[in-house]
């Protein structure tokens, strides 16, 4: 497995795989194969894929720890960038299909509706992370500062969940939302738990040494 992940083709293959949902949505839109309400299908699917890639991104570190597959780290950046890619697609679908690219309407909608505002904030918060994803940016910022900045992803995940929760609140239907909440809950919960444990070890260490 480790070997497979380290293979030269692993990144290009992941890149193609990550584009498949986009390709299928694009094909569906052009071939009119997205059911009776294609606009709704595009907006919802692009949102779903944003959440899925966000979960994948957040899963990399815990999976590394649990499985010892440290080569997974090579793929984290691509997962993160695809999260951003689908988030931008999601926003463009909303802005175009729902709002007809009417900037006034879009701004009014963002300001007026908490559910849109939270989703839009998540997108805004993702932007500096995407912008500092290349190696030179990491060097320029310094690893520590870069890491601190990129911890924003935890806030993004909570915003995204809240956005989805409010959207589903109208239909009083939280079945699907609970699955994402559970996944994000485990991935973030593990981080909290391991950092608390780490902190205790750190605080205990001086006493024992």
């Amino acid at each position: 497995m480790q070997k497979l992940l380290l293979h030269r083709a692993s990144k290009p293959l992941l890149f193609i795989a990550a584009l498949l949902p986009f390709a299928s949505l694009l094909y569906g839109a052009l071939a009119n194969a997205l059911g009776p309400n294609p606009a709704e299908a595009l907006i919802r699917s692009s949102g779903d894929w944003t959440l899925r890639f966000l979960c994948l991104t957040l899963a990399v570190t815990p999976l590394r720890r649990w499985t010892g597959l440290h080569a997974l780290a090579r793929l984290r950046r691509m997962f993160g960038l695809f999260t951003y890619f689908y988030a931008v697609t999601h926003f463009l679908c909303f802005a175009w299909l729902d709002m007809g690219f009417d900037v006034g309407d879009i701004v009014r909608d963002i300001a007026k509706r908490p559910f849109i505002l939270v989703g839009f904030s998540a997108l805004v918060l993702m932007t500096p992370l995407a912008a500092t994803s290349f190696n030179r940016a990491i060097k320029a910022l310094g690893a520590r500062r870069w890491q601190t900045l990129h911890r924003i992803v935890y806030a993004i995940a909570l915003f995204a969940l809240l956005h989805f929760f409010w959207m589903r609140a109208g239909k009083n239907d939280f079945a699907e939302w609970s699955i994402y909440a559970l996944v994000v809950g485990v991935l973030l919960g593990w981080r909290v738990w391991s950092s608390l444990r780490g902190a205790r070890e750190v605080s205990v260490r001086p006493a024992t040494s």
């Binding site: 009776p36 709704e40 299909l97 909608d109 109208g170 009083n172």
Partner: protein, 330 residues
């Protein structure tokens, strides 16, 4: 002649008197014009309209009906494709996704079926579905349907004005509202396992809304009986309100004195009101209601079309809400 002149009545010259045969002919002509010609013309027009009942795909039993003559009941807009009308539904008893009802509603048994009419009426009773079908002449009505989610369709329904039934059961003076209860049977409706709503699904109207001729007790669409996913064997259609006000697969109609607690008001009263009239100026908390997407017609990249007050039925129903604050009673 003097005696007659003495009556004070001046006769014209006999030559000026219209002979009875002539004036009779004139009167006949008038009568023909007034009734006969117009009647024949109307009959022909009606027959043409009746013959042109919107045809479905022929999968289900035919439900012949004549075009409705109720004002506003037949829009000239293009009906939404049968396939879209029957595969894109909100019917939570069969799942919350709009593709679910078409997949899951085959378990619903629309026969035998009866509807209990109870509450504040002088003649309560249980009506069998086949008796209801014959209670009044079936009409085809082509209504716009506006979903609260921001999409719309145009659907050729088959049914008769609910007031036909209401008149027969004779509401008492206490009847102010009418409640419509949907079937809630776990063996037929897999969606009841989820607690999305409190089952059974309850909807309601004010009595005058229920009496309005546009309020349709509906048995079919596209000239055929209702597909299960559209609320077989009978449902309500209230074209000037958001779609969820039109209860499906109805088993009980209750006349009550107090405003019923409807399912969506019970689930989220800040988002859904009792009236739920289509209104572009009253927003849903999470989206605007100013525009809508017509299913199957407006292209995916096309700008949405404006939504009309009372879904365009304002000339017919506007007076029901005269003087009412529509923002407060949303």
């Amino acid at each position: 002649m003097p005696s007659r002149c003495g009556s004070g009545f001046e006769h014209p010259n006999p030559s000026e008197i219209t002979p009875p045969t002539v004036y009779q002919r004139r009167r006949d002509l008038m009568r023909v014009l007034a009734t006969g010609v117009a009647g024949v013309a109307l009959a022909q027009w009606a027959a043409r309209e009746a013959r042109s009942q919107t045809a479905g795909p022929g999968k289900l039993a035919k439900l012949p009906a004549s075009r409705s003559t109720v004002p506003g009941a037949v829009t000239m807009e293009k009906p939404t494709a049968y396939n879209d009308v029957t595969t894109y539904n909100n019917f939570y008893e069969f799942g919350t996704d709009k593709a679910d009802p078409a997949k899951n509603a085959h378990t619903l048994k629309p026969r035998p079926w009866s509807v209990s009419v109870e509450g504040e009426v002088k003649k309560p009773g249980t009506f069998d579905i086949d008796a209801l079908l014959k209670l009044a002449p079936l009409e085809e009505r082509i209504y716009r349907l506006r979903c609260v989610e921001g999409w719309s369709m145009v659907i050729p329904w088959v049914g008769w004005s609910l007031n036909e039934l209401i008149k027969r059961v004779e509401p008492t003076g206490n009847a102010k509202f009418v409640e419509f209860v949907t079937l809630a049977d776990k063996t037929q409706m897999p969606g009841l396992r989820s607690s999305v709503l409190d089952w059974p699904y309850v909807e309601g109207l004010r009595l005058d809304e229920a009496m309005h001729p546009l309020t349709l007790l509906t048995f079919g669409l596209y000239g055929e009986v209702l597909p299960n996913q559209n609320g077989a064997p009978l449902r309500l259609v209230v074209p000037w309100k958001y779609g969820f006000k039109s209860g499906k697969s109805i088993v009980k109609i209750r006349f009550v004195a107090k405003q019923p607690l409807t399912s969506w008001v019970a689930a989220a009263s800040q988002e859904y009101g009792f009236y739920s009239n289509v209104n572009p100026t009253v927003e849903h908390p999470r989206w605007s209601q100013a525009s809508e997407r017509r299913i199957g017609e407006d292209g995916v990249f096309q700008k949405k079309r404006p939504t009309l007050l009372f879904n365009g039925y304002e000339p017919q129903v506007g007076q029901l809400y005269a003087g009412m604050d529509l923002k407060k009673y949303f």
